[in-house]
């Protein structure tokens, strides 16, 4: 029963008019978004107090962190460790004779990438221009730097007085050996502009020997003490308006400290730095003088042109203490080599045993095997890189000239060849599409290059392995020693084999775990749960250490292969669970429809269930592969030197102590590049084919 107050019965609504809309409103374009940049900032960054705070904090971090980071990169980081060890990082101790194979493999990979880009990707017009610019820069920049910027000087301490700083004492070194080439000029003079006062002395930057460093350090230390004394005196002054009230305890502590610090005269004055003349002689390797002279403070550069490649000795003597500014004398690294005797089958010696040293000059990587001279029976002290380091905050010019230019020079050839190979691959793929006929040309214009790309992709790992490892028979590609594999080469080989072999094994395990046959299902489950309960390190240890105990024949298998097997077995278990998740997500109607069509069990799996399941779990699978790439770094613990292992062993060398940050940043960048590429491929895979057309 309804009442008169029921709103549904109100009279206004009883007269429902009939409306018929014959005219259609036109389709219009959407209104232009009225969002200028300021409006965007206001809406997205400053919309609420929390947002404003977040914007300010992020802004500060985004400005301050990169600045301080790049300040460190340019001013303090020692990038010579990367330049010098580049080959180790890339291929470890791989045989020099077989290096061409690595180059060939890299070019094949670049070719394949180019072909795949042509076949599957949309390459914008801007990409080749960008790549061209980058490659051109890699050649132009080092050339420009080397032409325009000079090498930094080397500061050497001279004189007969000991140099003291804190608890370190450096006795005078009258003779210093160095290597140089024909025609180079050695210039030297007294570094007068650094001897005005202590603050100026602390600005010394350039290569310097221990003496130069001690001078700088003692000046800096003295300035610090001076500043501290001023600070303490200010605290004691009770009649200043904003002096703090000190407790007796604090006063006592400060007085002790004040007592320890003494106002010492400036270093430049107390050592009488650069006040007296220095006598110098330049000797060649046979100790014959090729130049000599006296340098007084204020004299211009003395210079000597060197007649031949090899060793030279700078003799510098005089009273007092002087700091010499020299050009042409640069730090060295010494490397010791022994080659054992090699006999052929009949016992004839084909290669003598030898022992020799190599000396590599840091600034241009010139190498000589000349024998180091001796003075009075002792080898002459030389400008080794441990002692003669770059001191002080590096200027941008020095960073560019000493570190960036050599790095670009070492890598620009490789980069050029890689780009050429990729462009070649791109061109071949496009040409194939244009020239080779295909029945589906109208529908799928890139069918030919896509098929070619897939073949290349499938053949590539096989070719990579064959070339890097070699084939024993025929003598064409002798087998390389896998104990010499290292660096990025080893990381890539382990990851590639691991990924490619563990994927089918993982799929089989997943199908096995879901099988209705109890034995198969139980065996798969036990395997998966056991392997997932054990850390990869333990698996690697078992592979390296326990396997030989089980069977002597297995002990002969290379370490690298044992690690590969361990990684494959480990990764397959995780992949199996990912794939099983995907299989579970397929609606049962799919299997029913397939069976209703008459497809056999295995056909249902291969044609219907598995393709859908794999496409579903692409993110999880690729995530597992990315993890695998990074997990290969664990082989560093079982004695193989992959990229991380090389990093560890490099940092342990005496010449490169303290270069942890640089080395680990470098390998981080390398790992990141590879992982990011894999992630990008995963995104492309997901969007391709039926994925693009799928409506959820």
């Amino acid at each position: 029963m309804t009442t008169a107050s029921d709103p549904r019965r109100s009279s206004a609504l009883l007269d429902t008019a009939t409306v018929v809309n014959y005219d259609e409103p036109p389709y219009k374009t959407p209104p232009a978004l009225v969002v200028g940049p300021l409006a965007w900032v206001r809406d997205n960054l400053l919309s609420s107090p929390f947002n404003i705070a977040l914007t300010i904090v992020s802004g500060i971090l985004l400005i301050v962190l990169p600045i301080s980071f790049f300040g460190w990169v340019v001013g303090q980081a020692n990038w010579f460790v990367i330049n010098f060890n580049l080959r180790q990082f890339m291929v470890g101790r791989y045989e020099v004779d077989a290096e061409w194979r690595v180059a060939l493999v890299v070019l094949m990979v670049a070719f394949t990438i180019g072909a795949l880009l042509a076949a599957f990707s949309y390459v914008s017009r801007r990409l080749p221009i960008l790549v061209g610019i980058v490659v051109a820069l890699c050649f132009i920049v080092p050339l420009a730097i080397n032409t325009v910027l000079p090498l930094p000087p080397t500061y050497l301490a001279a004189g007969d007085a000991d140099i003291v700083s804190g608890s370190s004492t450096q006795p005078p070194v009258p003779n210093l050996g160095f290597v140089a080439r024909t025609g180079e000029t050695v210039r030297l003079r007294i570094a007068e502009d650094l001897s005005a006062d202590d603050p100026t002395l602390t600005t010394l930057h350039g290569f310097g020997d221990i003496g130069a460093n001690l001078l700088r350090a003692s000046a800096a230390g003295r300035l610090t003490n001076e500043a501290r004394i001023v600070e303490i005196d200010a605290l004691f002054a009770a009649d200043l308006p904003n002096a703090r009230i000190l407790t007796d305890n604090q006063r006592a502590v400060l007085e002790t400290e004040r007592g320890r610090l003494a106002v010492t005269p400036p270093i430049t004055e107390s050592t009488a730095l650069n006040t007296r003349s220095i006598r110098w002689r330049l000797l060649d390797a046979t100790l014959e003088p090729i130049g000599s002279g006296t340098l007084a403070p204020g004299d211009p550069f003395a210079s000597v042109t060197l007649p031949a490649d090899g060793w030279y000795i700078l003799e510098k003597t005089g009273a007092g203490t002087a700091l010499l500014e020299t050009y042409g004398i640069y730090p060295l690294i010494e490397r010791n080599f022994t080659r054992s005797e090699v006999r052929d089958e009949s016992g004839v010696v084909t290669q003598q045993a030898e022992r020799y040293n190599e000396y590599l000059r840091m600034t241009d990587s010139w190498i000589t095997r000349a024998i180091r001279p001796e003075i009075d029976g002792d080898p002459v002290p030389m400008t080794i890189i441990i002692d003669t380091q770059y001191r002080g905050d590096r200027s941008l010019n020095d960073y560019l000239r000493v570190y960036l230019a050599p790095f670009l020079e070492a890598t620009n050839d490789a980069l050029l060849w890689i780009v050429i190979a990729a462009v070649f691959g791109f061109g071949v793929a496009r040409l194939a599409d244009r020239v080779i006929p295909s029945p589906v040309k109208a529908l799928k214009p890139r069918a030919v290059s896509q098929r070619m790309g897939i073949y290349l992709l499938v053949a590539l790992p096989v070719l990579m392995f064959v070339f890097i490892y070699g084939i024993g028979i025929g003598g064409v590609l002798p087998i390389t020693d896998t104990r010499r594999w290292g660096g990025l080469l080893l990381t890539i080989m382990l990851s590639m084999v691991g990924i490619i072999a563990s994927f089918p094994l993982g799929v089989l395990l997943a199908l096995g775990r879901r099988s209705k046959l109890p034995v198969v299902s139980a065996a798969s489950t036990i395997y998966i749960e056991f392997v997932r309960g054990v850390p990869l390190i333990a698996v690697l240890f078992m592979a390296q250490l326990l396997v030989p105990l089980i069977s002597p024949t297995l002990a002969e298998v290379d370490n690298v292969f044992r690690a590969m097997v361990g990684i494959i077995l480990f990764s397959a278990a995780y992949l199996a669970e990912n794939v099983r998740g995907g299989l579970q997500a397929i609606p049962p109607g799919q299997e029913e429809a397939a069976k209703a069509l008459g497809l056999a069990g295995w056909q249902v799996t291969v044609f219907v269930t598995l393709p859908q399941a794999l496409r579903l779990v692409i993110p999880a699978l690729v995530g597992q592969f990315i993890s695998l790439l990074k997990d290969t770094s664990l082989v560093a613990i079982v004695g193989m030197v992959d990229l991380t292992g090389i990093a560890q062993s490099t940092v342990a060398q005496t010449e490169f102590l303290g270069t942890r940050r640089e080395v680990y940043i470098f390998i981080t960048i390398i790992y990141f590049v590879f992982c990011y590429v894999m992630a990008a491929i995963s995104r492309r895979l997901e969007a391709s084919g039926s994925g693009a057309a799928r409506r959820v």
Binding site: P587, A593, Q612, S690, A693, R694
Partner: protein
């Protein structure tokens, strides 16, 4: 004209099926003649879907016998495979393979089960697509088609195997009313061309027009069966009358 004595193409005798403790089919006995169109109706949970799924062994019956085209349905995998080749099924949820194009969906089974060449399978597929009225959709993915189009592709996919029997499990229940017509038209054309069909549906109009026989299921058993005229104009069993009064 002689009337030939025709053997029934589907024979079910005393079929019983349990899901655990629950009995879904109770003593179901049916004979379907070749080229007959049998429509199965009934309330939900009455066992009609279970019944036709037992015919092509998507469900297993525990008691009784089912004989299709002279092949007895047992645990023998080869029998099952033989039977499934001769029966096509169309599902309520279409169950098209989303990762394959329409053409690939239709030609998958003929290529892999009947071992046809790709060309033969594809030309047959295009022919069937034309028959169901959507020849231009051949290279699209199922996700790009409307519901009615998808179901028609599903029918074409089942027909590609050249089956003797077509089973339909509520083929139009998941479709918009506008699309129901296009699918029913295809099914009518199929019936007119002489295909043996067993159709579970709620479309009474279709049953009245096309069916040779109507079966009414309730709680796992066949309550009443007869010609459409008998069924809709003169039902006998009170349960049948109740059901019809509620849906018509």
């Amino acid at each position: 004209m002689e009337t030939q004595i025709r053997e029934p193409i589907i024979v079910c005798r005393g079929v019983n099926k349990w899901f655990g403790e629950f009995q879904a089919l109770r003593d179901v006995s049916v004979e379907v003649m070749p080229q007959e169109v049998v429509v199965v109706i009934g309330p939900s949970g009455s066992g009609k879907s279970t019944f036709i799924r037992c015919i092509n062994r998507l469900e297993e019956h525990q008691e009784g016998e089912i004989i299709v085209a002279d092949v007895r349905l047992t645990h023998d995998v080869r029998n099952i495979a033989t039977i499934r080749r001769e029966i096509g099924m169309v599902f309520q949820q279409f169950n098209l393979f989303p990762h394959l194009t329409v053409l690939q969906n239709i030609s998958l089974a003929p290529i892999n089960v009947r071992n046809w060449s790709r060309d033969k399978a594809e030309s047959k597929a295009r022919e069937l697509l034309a028959r169901v009225g959507i020849p231009e959709q051949a290279d699209k993915y199922p996700g790009q088609l409307s519901g009615g189009q998808q179901q028609r592709v599903a029918i074409a996919r089942a027909l590609a195997m050249e089956p003797k029997i077509m089973l339909f499990d509520e083929p139009t229940s998941a479709l918009d009313p506008e699309m129901v017509r296009e699918v029913l038209d295809v099914m009518k054309e199929l019936a007119g061309s002489g295909m043996t069909m067993v159709v579970v549906t709620h479309e009474m109009g279709f049953a009245r027009e096309v069916a040779d026989r109507v079966l009414f299921f309730d709680q796992g058993r066949i309550v009443e069966e007869g010609t459409p005229d008998h069924f809709f104009d003169n039902p006998q069993h009170p349960r049948t009358k109740l059901f019809l009064s509620q849906i018509l």
